[in-house]
Amino acid sequence: MDPGGAILEADRIPGDAGRVLTRGARGGYVSLRLVARLARPGPYSLDVQWSDAGLESDLFREWFHWTEPEKRYYPDALIPVKTPYRSELPEPDNRIPKQSAQSFWMDVWIPATARPGMYRGAVRLEADGATVTRPIELTALPAVVPGQEAVTMDHNSYGSSWIGGLYPAARARGGERFFESDEFFSLIHSYHRLFHEHGGVFHQLGYGHGGKVGLEYAPELAGTGRNKRVKSWRLYDRHYGPLLDGSALAGTRRGARPVPFVYLPINPEWPASFLWWGEPGYEAEFVNVVGEMERHFREKGWTQTVFEVFFNHKKRYKAFPWDGDESRFPEDNKYFHEYARLLKKAVPAGSPVNFRFRSDSSWMMERQFQELAGVVDFWVLGSSMVSWYKDAPRMLKQRGDIVWIYGGTPSVQASAAAVTFAPFQCWMWDADGYVRWLTTSPGEDPWFRFEGGDTVMAYPGERFGVEGPIPSIRLKVQRNAVQDLTLLESLGKSRGIEELRAEASRRYNGAAAEDWWPPRPEIAGMPAQEMTNTTIGENTTAVKRLEETVNAGSWVELRKWILTLAAEAR
């Protein structure tokens, strides 16, 4: 929808498939788009009322972002508003000349305990002395969306300095101690809450390519060599304590629970100094400190979170001689073996604390599956190249490994359904999750000179009086897609998951199940150093074509079918 009330071209649904489905499973959301269109500029009010108790609705005003390349507006950021919402058109803060329409996103939450059946409500628009009322009829199905998502959608970020940049008023209030203030930690936790509430998880990598660790990402250390020890958990526990005991997520609809995944600050320079690499001191520092971490986590009862040992550095950034991320050179695998040895020495066998060794692999993933078996047990795989290795997800999961895919985020210029591709692809590939590599970076001026948003899914809410992030349309669409897949997967117990996948694929973009695993190309068996991005691109066109066939109607068709199955299920 644009500020003139017209549906954006990418979001027009072919045929008449665009009928709004006002039904949903319990323990899930139904979302509606409302448009207030006025004949002339002036004040208006919008209200939503439910005749029946039991549902909860949230209303968001859609911000129209001006994008310079296309010279047009796209809605994405969602500003929470209270009902009745009273404003005027043109909306003063969005500053759009001749704006004649304002769109709203409405989430309706159907609690798992809600009564199945019909719920009635109405939307009322008042403007220019007239009132227009539109009835809403929403059917809550008996089916309940399971609490554990079929696919974990992960939203990645790097460090914390961006928080100071996106929240200048909070930064100014906190002064020099901002990065140790309650407000700072509250902001971090608010990002976790937002993504948790949207069926996903949030990651913050706490160290740089050279090994510098942010103060809030690691315990403070003291000493050197055999005397290196944890000096203080003060900032670490303020940051992670509420996340790891779940209290930071209290009050959300999905409920308080410990965050499922978290990066550790471990890197080649922390906790052991690289100065001692290859010497006894390196092992002593690593084992002492990581051992203390295990004890601390165990004593705190932080046993429901996966603590990830993950190396993000690359030799091209010139700080270390090997690639921790997207390794391309076989001799780099020896470092993974060494860290696995050190980790094994630091963490007692049978520890209830869940340490996992994560590798983000692409170039030589197939080789690493073999050479790092028993070393790496958490794989995050380059999205295009996975399609060459059909047996990989199943093989890795059978040995107890976690399998995620990584990639980017569609920009606002793509169809609204483009953001569903990643979770759907994961589900078709039987992967556990998907990492969107950067989701908190809105660009220099997201409000009036937007760059498209392919690195943001949550915007800073400060300019709207919200002390934390606000969601985006793409985040909402993604949440709903994951919710539908989760519901669908729960139905697989009676129908068979492969049968469901085949039919879901057909309805989603017309693809056959086997289209998701194109024939293995010759390049898949070549040494990584003989591959280039060009040859990879030439050999992953089949999967790219699948993505290109997704249009605004893709998920409408699929959702209709899922809800029909859910309605029929007993």
Partner: protein, 191 residues
């Protein structure tokens, strides 16, 4: 009481050393480290770091693959680690955050230089994020040609002292950038 006063004095001094050194103080301290670096850094080992294959790809152009040089950047681990450890030891000479970076002319590419080893705080007045190699900066050219130290304070609040690195033949084969900032930023480069 005396003990308390001494403690307070030490705390204040540490605070100053970590957070708000003047450019002149910094320049003196860094220059001393740079002087030692010239004596300590093994130029022959530095020359052995980059692999021949990485050099071949360094200026390769592929319109469909803008990362072809970076994807093929590789080093010989042994000399890399040996030199990096020396640089790390040099940085420890200061009681405040310092990085000692190694810069080497790119073999076969006249007028080009590359940072080859960076360190923990990722400080540099010269490195552009992600650059494999860059045009030789005039102060670096001076160091390479005249075999003398040069102090650079171009970026406000930054001080770099560039010092020559010699090999066993006595030739200047590269340089170190000993760098720090007058104001410390704990959040910077955690990404």
């Amino acid at each position: 009481m005396k003990r308390i006063l001494v403690f307070l004095f030490c705390s204040a001094a540490l605070c100053l050393s970590q957070e708000s050194r003047t450019g002149a103080d910094l320049g003196r301290d860094l220059d001393e480290i740079a002087r030692v670096a010239t004596a300590m850094v093994d130029g022959d080992a530095c020359r052995r770091i980059v692999t021949k294959r990485a050099l071949e790809f360094m200026d390769k152009k592929d319109s469909g693959d803008p990362w072809i040089g970076a994807d093929n950047f590789d080093v010989h681990h042994e000399p890399y680690i040996q030199v990096k450890k020396t640089l790390m030891r040099l940085a420890k000479l200061a009681p405040f955050p310092v990085d000692v970076n190694l810069w080497m002319p790119v073999e076969g590419m006249e007028g080009r230089i590359q940072v080859l080893i960076r360190n923990k705080h990722e400080m540099s007045q010269f490195w552009r994020w992600g650059a494999l190699q860059q045009e030789l900066f005039p102060p670096m050219k001076t160091v390479l040609e005249e075999a003398r130290r040069v102090t650079v304070t171009e970026k406000p609040g930054w001080v770099s002292v560039l010092a020559p690195v010699h090999d066993s033949l006595g030739d200047v084969v590269g340089l170190v950038e000993v760098v720090s900032r007058t104001e410390w930023d704990a959040q910077k480069n955690v990404k």
